[in-house]
Structures are given as structure tokens and as C-alpha cells.
């Protein structure tokens, strides 16, 4: 069975994206589906009679600002291979988690706890779920910073986390 020379050049439809890109995009799809599930739940749950809207805590918006700055710093550090900026964006990420806890305290100070109103429960839950995923991203960032490994995908994930948080706030705000 000699190796016939026919057909050795790549076939049509032989697309071969980098494994890392596939993993990153698919995982972003997974996280998107998770927040899609929560969005569906939010819209189905809203029209019920006991809906008492809450105002989004100020710390929530401040946190969003911190994330946006962190993303831009990360993007610049990726382009300029500048590791100082990378650590700055990681610091802002940690600050963001701090603002989340402050927004929770702000809410509970206003008497809104997890079970008290559905809108409040959604805010607590979504910020908690987003916080967990963001914390995962933070670990990945620290891993890439210390190991100097490929940052493309972690940056993509980090920007996606920023967008998700913005999306969540806009969803909860109206």
C-alpha cells in the first residue's frame, strides 16, 4: 500500500483555527449562554406583582468605570508588551471586586437584602456570578503575567467580562 501522492495538498474546507482561539470563543459562548439564561429569567420574572425596582448602587457604576479602565490598560499593555500596565489592570480588577462588595453594603444599608425584593436578588446574584467569573479571569491574568504565556485569550476573556458587567447593569437599570 504505497503512499499515493494524490490529494496531499490541504483539502477545501480544511479550516484550522488555532486551538486557543477556538477554546476562547467557545468559552465566551458558554458564559454568554449563562447570562442569556439569567436574562430570560429576569424578563419572565419582572412582570410579577411583587416587583419593587431598586436603584443601582453608585459603587456599581464606579466599579464599571474601573473595569473599563482596566480593559483599556490591558489592551495597551498587550500591544506594547508593557508588563507594568498589565499589573495595573490586575490591580484595577481587584479594586472592581472591592467596589462590588461596597455596592452590596450600600444596598444592605438601604435595607435591601438578598431575599427582600426580586430586583435586589437579581442584582446580588448576577453581581456574585459575574464576580466569580471575573475572579477566574483575574487568576488567569496573574498566571499569564507571572508565566509570560500567551495573553491574547485572557485579554479577550477580560474584555468580555467587562462587557458582560456593563450589559448586566444596563439590564438591571431600566
Amino acid at each position: 500500500m504505497s503512499t499515493s501522492a494524490i490529494g496531499l495538498q490541504p483539502q477545501a474546507g480544511d479550516l484550522r483555527p488555532r486551538a486557543g482561539d477556538v477554546m476562547c470563543i467557545t468559552f465566551l459562548g458558554v458564559v454568554a449562554m449563562l447570562f442569556a439564561g439569567f436574562t430570560a429569567a429576569y424578563f419572565i420574572r419582572r412582570p410579577s406583582p411583587d416587583w419593587v425596582p431598586i436603584t443601582i448602587p453608585a459603587w456599581g457604576w464606579i466599579g464599571t468605570g474601573a473595569l473599563v479602565v482596566s480593559s483599556t490598560l490591558l489592551e495597551r499593555s498587550r500591544r506594547r508588551q508593557d508588563r507594568g500596565l498589565l499589573w495595573a489592570s490586575i490591580l484595577l480588577g481587584v479594586l472592581f471586586l472591592g467596589t462590588q462588595l461596597l455596592s452590596w453594603r450600600e444596598l444592605s444599608a438601604a435595607g435591601v437584602y438578598l431575599p427582600s425584593t426580586p430586583h435586589g436578588s437579581f442584582y446580588f446574584m448576577l453581581s456574585a456570578v459575574h464576580g466569580v467569573h471575573l475572579f477566574g479571569g483575574l487568576l488567569a491574568l496573574i498566571y499569564t503575567a507571572t508565566r509570560r504565556s500567551e495573553i491574547r485569550w485572557v485579554a479577550g476573556y477580560w474584555h468580555f467580562m467587562g462587557l458582560t458587567w456593563l450589559y448586566t447593569l444596563l439590564l438591571l437599570a431600566n
Binding site: 490541504p10 483539502q11 419572565i44
Partner: protein, 565 residues
Amino acid sequence: MAVEDHSAPTSFVKKYIFSQDHKVIGLQYILTALFMAIVGGWLAVMIRTQITWPEKAMVTPENYLSLVTMHGTIMVFFVVSLALVSGLGNFLVPLMLGARDMAYPFLNMLSYWTVVPACFLVLVSFVVEGGAAAAGWTAYPPLSALPEAVPGSGLGQTLWLLAMALFIASFTMGGLNYIATVLNCRAKGMSLMRMPLTVWTYFMSAVLGVLSFPPLTAAAIMLLLDRHGGTSFFLPSGLVFNNEVLAHEGGTPLLFQHLFWFLGHPEVYVLVLPGIGITFDLIASFARRPVFGYKTSVYALWVVGFLSMIVWGHHMYVTGMNPYVGEYFSIATVLITAPFAVLGMNLVASVWRSRIRMEVPMYWALGTVAVIGLGGFGGLFLATSISDIYFHDSFFVVGHFHLMIGVVTVLSTFGALYHWFPKMFGRVMNAGLGKLHFWLTYVPMVALFFLMHLQGMSGLLRRYYDHSIYEFQAPGRELALVITILTYAAFAAQAIFFWNFFYSMFKGVKVGANPWNATTLEWTAPSPAPHGNWPGALPVVDRHPYDYDPAAEEDSDYKPQGVVA
């Protein structure tokens, strides 16, 4: 070429326990699944015994509900998914693609070791105070949310939710790995349309699983908060227990059902599609002819995949969902029979003008084709919303889903194990015992689940601890004894497989790299395949996967898909 090459393991622990080799991880999954299959099977035996002789009251009603719930959960998530999707998938996909290993071996190992604690939690939940979860494998609130409603909804349900969270994490890691491996690590010259159908179905199943599980994670988080955080996502106002109204208000149980079944339906396709893919490959190898309609089958798989994401509502026709929405789901669901019919026809047509070698795997493959037909057509009765009014929550449903995600998956898993056993261990399983095991499993299983359709027709309702109270259920109960005896027979017959599987592992007849003269890439690797699958260079693909010719001379009627340079 795996993205992260890992050197050959040295220590025993690295080689067998915390191994990153897809073949070892595949075997670990299969062995875990076989153990959980014994547990799940034993639960089935107890359920059947209780239903057939209710007056003996072998178990109490709340334990019976735990049996039913855990039988469903274990079989769907911890047996079929582990054995067929994760176990065989991990073993076959890199070998069939001509890759050294999965794209991310460490992530692959992590996914196995995430599912082990989940299995542990499931087993522990039996002995926990209040017993295992008892709100059905679908865990509908408010039954699953309130410990007052059923004892199993106390600690048992919490453990169930944690086990599910771990399983979803593991399945997502595995799914991502499959997608990355299929898209990136194929052999040179193997385009997407030259992949064996088994790999196509694992790819489809990974995509479906990865995209449909997150809404269930959302529902599980909200259910956990409803149970312990005092929120009311799913719990409406006015729930009365012990003359007191609970302090929940505003939630709707339908929300959970929507989120659950958004996963539920794609999940059953995640389980059944690899079974169909394996059946295609087995038939091609043993009928010595190319698969009929490879392209149409791949397109049919895409259509099934897409449709399966938009039809979840057919589980909720009578649950208070708006009937007009139900009618949309009915129209969409019955469309799935079209691509399935294409797959069924291609399976049958792949035997046309062939030259069948009735080896043991071929018994299982042909048996599976018939069951795909029977199970598939049974679905039409439940897809049409009008006939579902009568059949919902009856034994017709039990018979249908058992045939599809029970029998089709189990038959194709056994067929695959008999077929690829030589590649795993370099030995072949005893053919005589294999055929005996086939007859003693196939006949009882298909018969008993078909009889369940008739029980459902006559009005027997499901998840009943004792049917004898009702007069309209009497005709259905007459079949209960026959079904239970067949269940015992099928359960006992598995001993033959276990003996054959573990005996042949060490004492089976030694065989070479390609005992069945098959064409797909894994048969170009030595058996048992070493670390990195091919000692030398990777094979190069220069043709489609099923280059058989039934007109040619008996022993040279095939051209391997790829050749090791």
C-alpha cells in the same frame, strides 16, 4: 499534534491515576460509568420490584421517589454521558483524527477528576438525613425547593445540585476540549468532510452540550438561592404547608421548567448522536461498503443540532404554558423527524449491496438501527401536542425515552467496546460470550421498553409508588410482571459482559493493529496504542474514511484512510 505536548509519564500515579493521556482518561471514564451503571441498574431493579408487588411495600414512598430520581440522574448524567460521550469520545477522537492527544491534556484530566467528586456526592446523598433527592431527575420546584414538600428536598437535593454543578463544569471542560481537538488537531489532509461520522457526532454533541448546559446552571443557582437564600425566583405566593403560608411571593415554577428543558432536550441529543455515529462506523466496517449518504448525514446532523435547541417546549404542553406557544413547539418538534429519517434511511441503505461480516460489533450495530427506528417514531406521538395531552407523564413517555437514550446508547456503547477493545488492550473479547451477551441484552431490553409503550397507551401513569388503587390502571398493570422479569434478565445478563470485559483484558486472544481490516485512522496505530498513539510520524490522510469495495477480493477490499509515512 496536541497543542501542549506532554512527555511520557513515568511514575505509576502519573501513568494511571493522574494521567493526561486521552486513552487512560477514556478508560477511567468508562470504568467509572460501568460502576455507576451497576448502581443505576440496581435502582431500576428496585423500582420494578416495587411497582410489580406494591402490596409488599419493599420501600417507603419517599424512598421510592429517591429511587426514581436518582435512577434518572445517575443513568442520564453519570452512566450514558460518562461512558459514551466522555469515555469512548476521549478514547476515539484523537485516534480517529490522527492526533497525538487531545488539544489540552491537562484540562482533559481536570474534567475527569471533577466528575469523580460529583459521583461521590451522588452516592453519599443516599445515606444523608432525609434520603436522596426525590423531586424527579427534572427537579421541578416547588417540590425540589421546599424540604416540607418531600423529605428528599432537604440535604439530599442540595447534594444533588452540587453534584450537577460539578458535572456541568466537567462536561463543559470536556466539550471545549473536543471542539478544539476536532477543529485544530486533525491529521494532515483530513478536511472536515473526511472525518469519520463518529467524530462528527462527538463534535455535534460537544457543541450542543457546551451551549445548552449554562441555562441549567443559571436555573440551578437560582434554585439554590430559593432553597437557602430565601429568594423567590420560582416560588409563588400562597404556598401552604402545615396551615401556614410560606414567606415567598412572585416566582413562577414555569420559569424553571423552561430553563431546565432548554438544556433537557439538547442533552438527550448529546447522548443519542454519538450512538448513531458509532453505529454508522460499525456498519461501514462490517458491511465492507462505504456509508450511504455521508454528506446528507452530516447535513442532517447539523439540522438535528439546530432544531434541538428550539424545541424544548414539547415537554411542557400541559403544564400551564400558553397553548399557542405549545402549538409552535409542536410544529417545530415534529420537523426533527425529517433529519432523523434521513439518518435512519442512510443507516439502512448502508447495508444495501454490502458483504456483511457478522462479527460481534455488527450484532450491536444492526440491533441499534432497529431501535433508532422504533424509538424515533415513538417520539412523534409525544411531539404532537394533541396526542401528548393523553400521553404526558404516562409509561408511553417512559418507554420512548428509555428506547432512545437508554437502549440506543447502551447498545452502541457495547458495540463500540467490543469493536475498539483490541485497540485498547491489544486483545479481542470472546466472540461466543459477546453474542450470548447480545441476545440476552437486546431481546429483553427492546421487549420490555416496547411493552412500556403499551402500558402507557392503556393509561398507566409514571412515578407511581403503587398503581393498584386505580381501576383505570388495571390493564397496564397486567404487563408489569412480564416487564419486571425481562428487567431482571437484562440486568443479570450484564454479568456476562463484565466477566468477558475484565477476563479478556488479560487473557484474551492477542491481535495485531487492525483485526477487523477497517479503514479509519485508529487502525493504523499499534494496539494497544502507546503514549502519543503513533510511535513514528503521524498518518497522512489521502481519502475519505470508508474506502471499502464489496466487489473486491475478500481480504483486500479496503484501503486505509491514512498511511503512516
